[in-house]
Symmetry: none
Subunit: 533 residues, 2 copies
């Protein structure tokens, strides 16, 4: 059975850079492009040559991006001058790219209001630009900006823009929902109309998520006939972002409705690497990954409800639409009040703890979990603390170190120069293998100072924790008022890319934080196979 | 032109509670239900009576939820016992609800594997449960669990489950995509088939976002004929979450493709309140709001690109699919913020500060707000700090007191009895009316100790702050990593019933907390009309 080829076009480095707060360095662009190439992306839009030094430099670099065609973005030439006389266009054509993608307007209103030129001048700009690019011998495509809004306002004009590019030899005519407000059934209907004029294998879709439908719009366009999808990793992009390729790729590769009909360039290994790529990008941008992201989110295969959990144990397909391993993610059954015994057993199995399910320690562990959850602990969001609790109940966590005491102080005062400064210090005393050790450190705040002091000298355990770092810190006040209890959740990571979460609870925020810090270090020691003292 | 009525069913308090890490307190459930009622929600699913004390208690509370029908969730009766002999079912039927929603299985595989009963026993359980609920005279509906997967595996059986509930008098037969992996065109096709057996005005849709299509699936189901949509605020829910009502409501109210055909219960004011409701829920859950969320995200109407920005200035419709004000959001153009000024003026008017709109202090205040928001302050959720900033810009806040210095320490050590204790102390030096005062206090934690010390002796201002109390304290880490900045938000209240929120930002959590504490006291002094020193 032969499947049709569907092409993927990544614009993380160009349209993704329009995200508020995102500004890739050259080195970051290269890292992302290499990942995209390795997974089998068809097109990588690297930037707009001439628009910034980074964008220009990207095209001058040596490439190692697999079979991906590196694409330079540009604007159609300005009205009133010829293509050869438009320096912006010439800079794009001079870039060392494999392909070009030009944005051209196709909404009459926009041409007249935003651009301030006549409809005919805009058509001529599209024709001349595509002609000039095609004459270089390189693959050329057009992003028809605001195509769907334009089609709804003036279908003849929108179509004439698309056809102009097609007639001049553009390989791809990409229909853009620039404002992101078009809905799937409209995309389907409009693409179906366009297909009467331009063959589907020459059409592409470029969707934005302003109505929460960018992924569905891309799928609707494919169902209607387009054969190229433009999008970004993690749905980066201006406003609500572009179509999220991280959500689209597994659907296209794993769902029979698409996988049976279409072939895409992404390899099985590329698919398995998707969770990693998604989180690596967040890491680069210093963002918290969306735990609820389709396919790759930390919670995407987490089950909380008790009945669901017991069904998952019988057969994961009962509550999983795809196997999490296929996208490099993993299953988690949560232990919580609602989950009960079966979730607990499932979680122990996942952690790799072999226990007979009638073992009396199971009931005791369940009691402990419930007691602690009543006291304010939340193991739902703190798998590492749960794992330690479970391993301790089963007797497999060594007492690597004992904390004898700690103290921390924060002082705000005027310094010798008369400036207001805040000074923060912590002292921690620990015993490792019978030997007392005392460390002192300064920090940005008391928790940071304690963290630094605690990890400064753990004797023989130091090599195991060198690459540990705190990546997030959350505080929640429970109960409120005078009975208030503080829950601190700490997220940690290490160089292997592992991320884990620990929790501490106390009326005192510093105490709660310290518990979570100690759990994080202990977890890291367990996972690294550190020896008992 | 008469439009068909489309009903919205919110399950934030039930299915939304399946979100990992989410566990609503009774008071939180009531706050959310009041907001839902005020916006015009048709159904509010409050929980599963009998499943937890909070869920049970919710139904016993006095209600003030507008026209919303409070719905109790339950499971169909167990096989092998009669409805009247099933204590779980009887607990649900005994709850003081306006309506019931029972979950019943409709996938043959699930009935046999997860439930371990025969297909006929499951059908009988559906019939008997619906019959028992309908006989109470209250509106009854069924959530057909895994309907779409079930239909794909065994359409006859899935349909027979839906028809059984319909025949027994269920008002709504809700088709659930429980695993969330169904795609919009499949939803459309399957709903179209079901409609041949059950009228569309009796059908509902319950979608999950595992393929990133929950919103589109809900819309596809409506296009195919269903007349009830189930979803949650902010798309809370297990794994990747449920269909996000915050994204669906504006589409249904504002997009002609739906708004011309359907009427929903949400009022225009409810729509304008959507941004607030979305952020309030995140605040309650101590989550960072998704800046890129459709319609309500802080970035949903932010324009970065220079050309886009200049077009937006000419006419916002050029790059906006709806006017941001309609959903209570606002436009932000990163180069030259025109929206900022008008919302600032509106806010000053709300506070009751009379200013000429050409007053040069307005522009300076706007600059300050922007600068501070860039640094991490969030005035959206801290009106009292904003009001102080505005009043200071206009010169109307006295310097009641000066803080010369503070220090706080936390120490954990073994006491004389050999017990581990944590001791926490703070010292604050202030100058009031030229007179230096120094106070020391102990507390549950460093912030509590600082708060007590700071309020211990403010001289002539003491009588004004006697009834001030801290009611909530929230911490959020911004940026993360080494650039991390801490934002502390403090909620205070006094005996008059007033509640206000202040904010502090610093790399040091203690500094940030102290700023927010000082703002809270200052705000209280302003509002109490305390005299200048």
């Amino acid at each position: 059975m032969s499947r049709e080829r569907l092409y993927l076009f990544d614009t993380t480095l160009r349209d993704g850079q329009q995200t508020a707060g995102v500004d890739f360095a050259l080195e970051e662009k290269l890292i992302i492009a290499r990942e995209l190439g390795a997974m089998g992306m068809d097109y990588i839009e690297g930037g707009f040559p001439g628009a910034s030094t980074t964008d220009t430099a990207f095209f001058a670099e040596e490439r190692d991006f697999g079979k991906a065609r590196v694409t330079a973005f540009g604007m159609t030439k300005r009205a009133g001058r010829s293509a050869s006389n438009d320096p912006g266009l010439q800079t794009v054509l001079a870039a060392k790219s494999d392909a070009f993608c030009f944005v051209g307007k196709s909404w009459d209103y926009h041409v007249e209001v935003a651009l301030g030129v006549t409809l005919d001048e805009n058509l001529a700009a599209i024709r001349d630009t595509i002609k000039a690019a095609v004459s270089t011998g390189r693959e050329t495509m057009i992003d028809c900006e605001h195509f769907f809004d334009g089609y709804k306002a003036n279908p003849d004009y929108a179509l004439s823009c698309a056809k102009a590019a097609f007639e001049e030899g553009a390989r791809w005519i990409v229909l853009c929902d620039t404002n992101g407000g078009t809905l799937p059934h409209e995309v389907f209907a409009i693409v179906s109309e366009v297909k009467k004029h331009i063959p589907g294998e020459r059409l592409g879709i470029h969707a934005h998520d302003d109505a929460g439908c960018a992924v569905a719009n891309s799928l609707a366009a494919v169902s209607a006939g387009v054969r190229q999808i433009q999008g970004t990793l993690n749905g980066l992009g201006e406003r609500c972002g572009n179509a999220n390729l991280i959500s689209l790729i597994p659907t296209l590769k794993l769902k029979p409705e698409f996988a049976d009909k279409f072939e895409i360039g992404i390899s099985d290994d590329g698919l398995k690497n998707l969770t990693h790529i998604s989180r690596q990008l967040d890491e680069m941008l210093n963002r918290n990954p969306n735990r609820h992201a389709p396919y790759v989110g930390a919670n995407a295969f987490v089950t909380k409800a008790g009945i669901h959990a017991s069904a998952i144990l019988k057969d994961p397909r009962t509550y999983e639409h795809i196997p999490p391993e296929a996208v490099g993610n993993r299953r988690r059954v949560m232990v919580s009040d609602q989950g009960g015994r079966s979730s607990l057993l499932a979680e122990l199995e996942r952690i790799g703890l072999q226990v007979n399910k009638d073992d009396p320690r199971i009931a005791r562990l369940l009691d402990t979990v419930r007691e602690r959850e009543n006291a304010g602990y939340a193991y739902d969001g703190a798998e590492a603390s749960f794992e330690l609790l479970a391993r301790r109940a089963l007797g497999s966590v060594p007492d690597y170190f004992d904390v004898d005491s700690f103290r921390t102080s924060v002082e705000r005062r005027h310094n010798a120069m008369g400036e207001l400064v805040t000074v923060c210090e912590a002292v921690v005393k620990v015993t490792v293998k019978g030997e007392a050790r005392m460390s002192v450190a300064e920090g940005n705040g008391p928790v940071n100072a304690l963290d630094v002091a605690l990890r400064k000298d753990l004797g023989i355990y130091q090599p195991f924790i060198n690459d540990l770092k705190l990546t997030d810190f959350k505080v929640r006040i429970l109960n409120g008022g005078t009975e208030a209890v503080t829950r601190v959740t700490i997220e940690s990571a290490d160089d292997s890319g592992d991320v884990w979460t620990t929790v501490g609870v106390s009326p005192n925020i510093i105490d709660a934080s310290f518990q979570a810090l100690v759990d994080s270090i202990t977890y890291k020691l367990v996972k690294s196979g550190a020896p008992a003292p």
